[in-house]
């Protein structure tokens, strides 16, 4: 097998007395879409946030395109180490609460990081941003402020904003959970397209349909460990583990 895009080895993370991740191993190949399911508190969001070092793990190794991003004395604090620049410029993230910058227009939201971090010219950043916004169906919203947009539109801006940094991996942290039901589809469609273009994606989600259809791999987490993983059809339709069955039973009977 080719070198993994993202490889997690024995990831441990605790918040005070609470051990949130108890040794997680995961390989994500280039272009693969991995959907992470699990009950709340299972550690799935924390795992995602470990990958771009928003929550640096205490123990374990994270390899990004073969580079160990947790080594060195800087690990554990997650601040001011070269790995941080390396990681954040290769890994894009989209959040449950969108986290658009409310004091910036849609276009400024997308151009800010390319201009400040990558040092792109205004013209260059804007033409790229406009292309991305058009791609997510928001070609007519450049000058709007986020509060004027629906949740679904905001989330698509957030996706375009992350893509503007030309990431190699995208992290999606329950990106449809804060949306009204009728707005979920437009966001999932955008993600589906992105997956079709070969983006490597880690997706924490409760959208079973999306996991089944788009996921190459489904990971079920509970209690800070991976309980079961495999192809969507196997995990979702024929779960082996009792905990997976219970969880899927509760989710699907809704």
């Amino acid at each position: 097998m080719a070198e993994a895009m993202v490889r997690l080895e024995e990831i441990h993370k605790r918040f005070g007395d609470l051990e949130v991740l108890k040794g997680v191993n995961l390989d994500v190949a280039k272009g693969e879409v991995v959907c992470i399911l699990g009950p709340s508190g299972s550690g799935k969001s924390t795992l995602l946030r470990c990958v771009n070092l928003l929550e640096p793990p205490e123990r374990g190794e994270i390899f990004l395109e073969g580079h160990d991003i947790c080594k060195g004395p800087g690990s554990g604090t997650g601040e001011a180490s070269w790995e941080l620049d390396f990681v954040r410029q290769r890994v894009g993230m989209v959040f449950q609460q969108f986290n658009l910058f409310p004091h910036k227009t849609v276009l400024e939201n997308v151009t800010l990081a390319p201009r400040q971090v990558l040092g792109k010219s205004r013209a260059e950043a804007e033409s790229k941003a406009k292309a991305l916004l058009e791609r997510v169906g928001l070609g007519d919203k450049f000058g709007q402020y986020p509060e004027r947009l629906s949740g679904g539109q905001q989330q698509r801006v957030a996706i375009a904003r992350a893509l503007a940094m030309e990431p190699h991996v995208m992290l999606f942290d329950e990106v449809t959970s804060a949306l009204d039901p009728e707005l979920v589809k437009e966001v999932l469609d955008t993600m589906r397209e992105l997956a079709g273009e070969g983006m490597t994606m880690l997706v924490v989600t409760h959208e079973m349909g999306f996991a089944r259809e788009v996921g190459d791999q489904v990971v079920f987490m509970d209690g800070g460990v991976i309980v079961e993983q495999g192809r969507p059809a196997d995990v979702l339709d024929n779960p082996r583990e009792e905990r997976t069955k219970k969880f899927l039973g509760r989710v699907l009977e809704r």
Binding site: T77, F101, P102, H103, A113, Q116
Partner: protein
């Protein structure tokens, strides 16, 4: 009753000393104007130092917190006296610093500027801090996940949002600063209160002091109304914001 009225509202004395008191009041305003600019900048710097990330910078955060706490805990009058009564005698300093006469202003003016800036910088740092802490954590996370440094996130994302959350409490500090600018009278800076006290000493009549008080009222009362308006507007914003999140 007429004795009371005469003691405080002797229009003859007010009229005779009006231009002196007004002149003193304008000096208050000048001192205030200089300090307000410096203290707003110094307070922001302190607030940012206080928010520096990482373990290595704990000493800087600690020193900043100590500074902010101590300067707010000591009466301003004592700070003014420590500065005006100490700095002139620090002979290792060049004379221009010990007894500053910059821009044609006398040294008591500059001692006042220094004391008020040091103290109000600490107060304003706390107001900025409230604003910074009111910016949702997700904003910083989004900025950091896009590769921005802590400094870039503060400059482009956090501070611009923080300052829109604090105009009312900040204006309260500003009004308070305007009033406290009179404390510089103790170092013989010829501002309105000092003028009023000189008239009081001459005539045993309080009208000139009251006149100074009225001049402050003319500015601070509308200021207080503006604070109310800002608070109401801000609450309106919060309500509207909540509505948008639901919608």
């Amino acid at each position: 009753m007429s004795e009371f009225f005469h003691q405080y509202f002797d229009f003859h004395i007010m009229g005779a000393h009006f231009s002196e008191v007004l002149d003193g009041f304008l000096k208050n305003l000048l001192l205030f104007a200089v300090v307000v600019v410096l203290a707003l900048a110094w307070g922001l710097l302190l607030a940012l130092l206080r928010q520096l990330p990482g373990k290595k910078l704990i000493p800087i955060r600690g020193l900043t917190i100590a500074y902010i706490d101590v300067l707010r805990a000591i009466p301003l009058l004592i700070i003014i006296l420590l500065i005006s009564g100490g700095i002139p005698y620090l002979n290792f300093l060049p004379k221009d610093l010990r007894i500053p006469q910059w821009f044609g202003q006398p040294d008591p003016f500059w001692y006042g500027v220094l004391a008020l800036t040091l103290v109000y910088g600490a107060y304003m740092a706390e107001v900025y801090r409230a604003g910074i802490e009111a910016v949702p954590r997700g904003q910083i996370e989004a900025a950091r996940s896009l590769g921005m440094s802590h400094g870039q996130a503060m400059r482009h994302i956090v501070v611009p949002q923080a300052v829109t959350k604090i105009p009312a409490p900040m204006l309260n500090e500003v009004i308070s600063l305007l009033k406290d600018a009179t404390l510089v009278s103790v170092v013989a800076y010829g501002e309105s209160v000092l003028v009023g006290r000189e008239v009081l000493a001459e005539t045993f009549n309080s009208s000139a002091v009251l006149l100074a008080g009225l001049m402050f009222l003319a500015i601070t009362l509308p200021g207080a109304r503006i604070v109310d308006k800002l608070i109401a507007r801000n609450q309106g914003k919060i309500t509207r914001g909540a509505h948008i999140e639901v919608a």
